[in-house]
C-alpha cells in the first residue's frame, strides 16, 4: 500500500517537472521590453560585428536609447532606409545613383558617412620566394583552380596550402566577394578559428598562404611575410598599409559607410557621431579595421 502511494507521488512529481520545463520555455517568449527610444541599424553583414560593438558602447553612454543591429546585406539595409523601416543603414558599398534617386522620390535625403576602412593583407611563409600576386592569381589560389606554387611564379612544385578564416567571419565574406569574385572557396581550404591560428599555420608551413586583417599582419611581421597585391597583372604591386588603404591604391580594401537621413532624430545622429568619436574609432581599431581619422 505504502509503495503504491510513493509511486503515485513520483508520477505526479514527473508531471510537475515537465510543467516547469514548459513554463521556462515560454517565459522567454512572453518577456517584454521597457519603453525606450529605439535606434535601428540595418545592413552589411560584414559590419554587423563592428556596429554591434558600437551599439553596446553607445547604449552605455546613452541609457535612454536602445540600439538594435541587424544584418541582411548592404542592399537590404539601403532598401530599408529608403522605405523608412530603419534609421541607420550600414553599408560596405557606396549607394548607387539609382538608389539615391529612389530615396529622393520618397522624400528621404540621405547623408553618407565613412566610418571605417577595411583592408586585408595576404601573408605567406617567410621562406616563400613569391613576393607579389595579382588579383586573378589570388582568386585562382583560393578557389582551388591554381594549386601549385610554380603556377604563380614560385619555384616549389608543392601544393599550395590555403588557409582561410571561418565562414562566420566578415573577412571571409569580404575576401570571397572581392578576391574570389563571389565564387566558393576551395573545398581543401583550411578554415581556422582565429586570425592568430592563421598566422601560426602560415609561419610554420612553408607552402601556405592566408589572409588576415591589416592590423594583425603588421603585428606579426616577423613571423609571416606580407605580399604585395596587383590590382591587375600589368600594374605595379602595392603593399598594404594605412596609407595605401586610405588612398585606395591597395586593391583588397574598401571604405565602410553609414547612411542616415538628414532629417533624422537627435538620438540617431548621436549614434553616427559616436562612431566617429575617439571611442568609436578605438573600437574600429580593436575590430581590426583601419580608422578614418
Amino acid at each position: 500500500m505504502k509503495t503504491d502511494k510513493n509511486q503515485k507521488s513520483r508520477g505526479s512529481d514527473m508531471a510537475l517537472i515537465v510543467t516547469v520545463c514548459l513554463i521556462i520555455m515560454f517565459a522567454g517568449i512572453a518577456g517584454g521590453a521597457a519603453e525606450k527610444k529605439m535606434v535601428t541599424v540595418k545592413g552589411s553583414d560584414t559590419m554587423v560585428h563592428l556596429v554591434s560593438h558600437w551599439a553596446e558602447w553607445f547604449m552605455k553612454q546613452r541609457p535612454d536609447v536602445e540600439a538594435a543591429v541587424t544584418g541582411g546585406g548592404s542592399g537590404t539595409g539601403i532598401a530599408a532606409l529608403i522605405n523608412g523601416t530603419t534609421e541607420i543603414c550600414a553599408s560596405s558599398r557606396e549607394m548607387k545613383d539609382k538608389e539615391k534617386q529612389q530615396a529622393k522620390a520618397k522624400g528621404v535625403e540621405v547623408k553618407e558617412i565613412v566610418v571605417a576602412r577595411d583592408g586585408i593583407a595576404v601573408v605567406v611563409n617567410p621562406q616563400n620566394p613569391v613576393s607579389e600576386l595579382d588579383m586573378e592569381q589570388l582568386g585562382g589560389i583560393f578557389t582551388g583552380s591554381l594549386t601549385k606554387w610554380n603556377q604563380v611564379g614560385g619555384v616549389s612544385d608543392k601544393e599550395i596550402l590555403v588557409f582561410s578564416r571561418e565562414s562566420s567571419s566578415g573577412t571571409y565574406v569580404f575576401f570571397q566577394e572581392h578576391v574570389l569574385k563571389n565564387k566558393d572557396y576551395a573545398v581543401k581550404a583550411k578554415l581556422m578559428p582565429a586570425t592568430s591560428a592563421i598566422i601560426e599555420a602560415v609561419a610554420s608551413d612553408a607552402d601556405s598562404i592566408g589572409y588576415v586583417g591589416l592590423g594583425y599582419a603588421q603585428a606579426a611581421k616577423d613571423k609571416v611575410r606580407v605580399i604585395g597585391v596587383k590590382a591587375d597583372a600589368n600594374l605595379p604591386a602595392v603593399m598594404p598599409s594605412e596609407e595605401t588603404v586610405i588612398s585606395g591604391k591597395y586593391p583588397i580594401a574598401r571604405p565602410l559607410y553609414l547612411y542616415v537621413s538628414i532629417a533624422a532624430r537627435e538620438d540617431v545622429t548621436a549614434f553616427a557621431g559616436f562612431c566617429l568619436s575617439k571611442d568609436g574609432q578605438e573600437i574600429v581599431r580593436q575590430e581590426g579595421y583601419v580608422t578614418v581619422k
Binding site: 570571397q176 573545398v187 583550411k190
Partner: protein
C-alpha cells in the same frame, strides 16, 4: 509533528536537486528539436545528404553534413585506435602488475590528465604536437585528422584507464588463484583469465571514452585544419561536427537555414553521445549483474 514536516521539506528539496539534471536534459532536447525541425520543411532534409558543406556562399548555400560526419568518425576512430592499447594497457599494469606504491603515484596522475581543460590541451597540441606530427611524417602541414586523434586519445585515456582498472580489480580473486594453481604464468593469467573476465567493463570504458571523444570540440578545432573534405586518410585535414557548430554558431543569422542546419548537427551529436552512453551503461549493467 514539526519534525516530520521539516524532514519532508528536506527530502523534497533533495529530490528536486537530484531531478534538476533530468529537467535540464529534457529542456535541452526540446530546445534543440524546436530549433532544428523547421529545416525539414525548408530546405528539406535531403539537403543534409549533399556532399559539400558551404553554408556561406553567394552562389548556392550547401548544407551537406557528410564531410562533417566522416570527419568526426575518422578523428574518433583514430583516437580510439590509440586509446584502447594505451588505456587498457595502463589499466592492466596498474591493477595487476604495479606495486602498491607505484599505483599510488600512477592513478592520481592519470586521473589528473582528465582534469586538464580541453582548450589547454588544444593549445599544447597546436604548439607542440602539430609541428611534431608534421616533421615526423614529413607532411606539408601538421593540421591533420591524425593530430586531432592523438590529442583526443590523450583526453580519453584517463577515462578508459580509470574505468577499466575498476573492472579489472573487481574480477574475483578466485579466478586468478585457480589459473595460477593450474600452472599458468602470471602474464597468461592476466590475458587469458583476468582481462576476459573484465571484458564487458573494459568495453563500457571504451564506449564512454568514445562518447567523450566525439563530443570534444575546442582541442579538435585547433588542430584538425577544419577543411570540409570527405576522406579516410589520417594525414588530411578534416572538419568535425563539433568544430563546425562551435565555429559557426557565433555569427549565424538567427532563424536562417544555416542556423537550423547547425541544430541538425546538434541532434546527430546528441544522438551519438546518448547512444554510446546508453550502450555503455547497458554493458556495464550486464557486467555488474553477472558478477
Amino acid at each position: 509533528m514539526k519534525r516530520t514536516w521539516k524532514e519532508k521539506l528536506i527530502e523534497k528539496s533533495l529530490k528536486w536537486t537530484a531531478t534538476l539534471s533530468i529537467v535540464i536534459v529534457i529542456c535541452i532536447f526540446i530546445f534543440i528539436f524546436k530549433e532544428a525541425v523547421p529545416f525539414a520543411k525548408k530546405p528539406g532534409l535531403g539537403e543534409l545528404f549533399r556532399i559539400r558543406w558551404a553554408p556561406v556562399s553567394p552562389l548556392r548555400e550547401s548544407f551537406g553534413i557528410l564531410p562533417l560526419v566522416t570527419g568526426s568518425v575518422l578523428v574518433t576512430a583514430l583516437a580510439m585506435l590509440l586509446t584502447i592499447p594505451f588505456g587498457v594497457g595502463s589499466a592492466v599494469y596498474i591493477s595487476e602488475v604495479a606495486a602498491p606504491w607505484e599505483r599510488e603515484i600512477l592513478k592520481p596522475f592519470i586521473e589528473m590528465l582528465a582534469g586538464i581543460p580541453s582548450v589547454v590541451i588544444g593549445f599544447f597540441g597546436l604548439m607542440v604536437l602539430v609541428p611534431l606530427v608534421k616533421s615526423c611524417f614529413g607532411l606539408a602541414t601538421g593540421l591533420t585528422a591524425f593530430s586531432g586523434g592523438l590529442l583526443l586519445a590523450l583526453m580519453a585515456i584517463p577515462t578508459v584507464t580509470s574505468i577499466s582498472e575498476d573492472a579489472l580489480r573487481s574480477v574475483p580473486r578466485s579466478y586468478k588463484e585457480a589459473s595460477l594453481a593450474l600452472g599458468a604464468s602470471r602474464i597468461r593469467t592476466i590475458w587469458r583469465v583476468t582481462v576476459p573476465a573484465a571484458l564487458s567493463g573494459i568495453t563500457a570504458a571504451v564506449m564512454l571514452g568514445a562518447g567523450r571523444v566525439i563530443g570534444e570540440t575546442m582541442a579538435v578545432m585547433m588542430v584538425t585544419g577544419n577543411a570540409a573534405v570527405i576522406t579516410f586518410w589520417p594525414f588530411e585535414s578534416v572538419r568535425t561536427m563539433t568544430a563546425t557548430v562551435a565555429a559557426e554558431m557565433g555569427e549565424v543569422a538567427f532563424g536562417s537555414d544555416h542556423y537550423r542546419a547547425l541544430f541538425c548537427i546538434g541532434i546527430i551529436l546528441l544522438a551519438a553521445a546518448f547512444g554510446l552512453n546508453v550502450a555503455a551503461q547497458k554493458v556495464l549493467g550486464r557486467y555488474r549483474m553477472g558478477k
